[in-house]
């Protein structure tokens, strides 16, 4: 770096120590100090000069002091950052829950307008073919079967066949997603299934 530039920056450091640096210069200086260790050392020495002149206690280890304070702050900031990341991670797990609820609502709307009976049967078959689902909702399985039997014979046309596949894959994929989780996710899955069959 050119010596004139260095001197100009050092003059800014001097003014900064005195709180006399204009705003626009301060912005640049802060960014430069982030990168240039030598200027930080200069700042420490300028600060020390004032102490020496005033006959204040000379704290020659000021760089070590500053480094220690900032290390402590950095470790706190990192810890806070981890907490934020964990919080974000928690939020990301709730996204499948929300999307599942949205899908369930759309699905319910769809049932009301399209191939009601076909979808019912497809849904039951899908559940029956998914071991994970059975283990969750065994209690109401008989009731559901009875309810389905009481329905009219479904029309197994092409459209119903497609709906069956969709319903099965939907339930399978949600069962797999929910498998590692207890509590809200499992509850959500049960809720989705019940919502489907209570129409």
């Amino acid at each position: 770096m050119e010596s004139d530039v260095v001197r100009s920056i050092e003059e800014q450091l001097s003014a900064f120590i005195d709180g006399e640096l204009p705003d626009e210069e301060l912005q640049l200086l802060v960014r430069r100090l982030e990168r240039e260790e030598a200027f930080r050392a200069t700042l420490v020495r300028y600060s020390l000069l004032g102490n020496i002149m005033r006959n204040d206690p000379v704290q020659a280890s000021s760089e070590a002091f500053r480094a220690r304070v900032m290390a402590e702050i950095s470790s706190e900031t990192e810890a806070a950052g981890d907490q934020q990341l964990n919080a974000k991670a928690g939020f990301s797990w709730s996204r499948p829950l929300v999307s599942a609820a949205v899908v369930a609502i759309i699905f319910v709307g769809f049932i009301n307008t399209e191939s009601f009976d076909s979808i019912f049967e497809a849904g039951v078959n899908g559940i029956a073919s998914t071991g994970q689902s059975e283990s969750i909702d065994v209690r109401s399985a008989d009731q559901r079967s009875a309810r389905v039997v009481s329905k009219q014979t479904p029309r197994l046309d092409r459209k119903a066949s497609i709906n069956r596949e969709r319903m099965t894959s939907y339930l399978v994929s949600h069962s797999e997603r929910a498998r590692p989780f207890q509590g809200p996710m499992a509850d959500a899955r049960i809720f989705i299934q019940q919502a489907s069959f209570e129409q």
Binding site: R7, E10, E11, S14, A15, F16, I17, D18, G19, E20, L21, P22, D23, L26, Q27, V30, L33, E34, R40, T42, L43, V44, R45, Y46, S47, L48, L49, G50, N51, I52, M53, R54, N55, D56, P57, V58, Q59, A60, S61, S62, A64, F65, R66, R68, V69, M70, E72, I73, S74, E76, T77
Partner: protein, 193 residues
């Protein structure tokens, strides 16, 4: 821009997540805070610990700093309270509390601080003072007066400009040149630490 506005700018940056801005506030005020705390805590090593604690408390509390007072005034209060709390805690602490330093790096830090009180550290401080005083005496009058008005009398650049009947820019330049000259004499001493 005065100290308050300059500090507020740094505070705003810290609030926006720029840790380096707080680093500058530490660099700027550490000597004053240590000096302040040493009025309460005589032991230099303890005073440094308490000062460090005060800065960390300030950093944690900074999001709540509204800027009603100057940063230093706010920091000053935190430092005083931290020092007082330290004294209260010290009265309750058993005398052999130094044995609580279990981490090696903690021990090294404290040992290093205690070194500052050693005859070698005192000699170092004396050497720094002598070098600065000698350089100050040898400075041209305009530089010596400018730096003295600033460091010893605490005048602002504007006030110094009025006293010395020169532009503020000239004051800034004179103060810098005085510091530059003194810095040359202490730099090699500091490098040996």
């Amino acid at each position: 821009m005065g100290n308050r506005a300059s500090d507020q700018l740094l505070v705003d940056r810290v609030k926006a997540g720029d840790k380096h801005a707080f680093d500058l506030l530490v660099l700027k005020y550490q000597h004053r805070i240590v000096k302040l705390i040493m009025r309460y805590v005589r032991d230099p090593a303890e005073a440094l610990d308490v000062s460090q604690e005060a800065f960390i408390k300030a950093y944690r509390a900074l999001p709540n700093f509204r800027g009603d007072s100057a940063f230093y005034t706010w920091m000053y209060r935190i430092a005083i309270n931290t020092a007082k709390n330290h004294l209260v805690a010290a009265r309750r602490r058993p005398l052999d509390s130094a044995a609580d330093i279990s981490e090696p790096e903690e021990f090294e830090w404290h040992a290093n601080l205690q070194d500052r009180d050693s005859p070698e550290a005192e000699a170092l401080g004396e050497e720094l003072r002598n070098s600065v005083e000698k350089t100050l005496r040898e400075l041209p009058d305009d530089l010596r007066v400018a730096i003295t008005l600033r460091e010893l009398d605490g005048l602002t650049y504007e006030e110094i400009a009025q006293v010395m009947e020169c532009p503020v820019g000239t004051v800034r330049s004179r103060i810098f040149r005085a510091r530059e000259a003194m810095d040359k004499t202490i730099r090699h001493i500091m490098d040996e630490i």
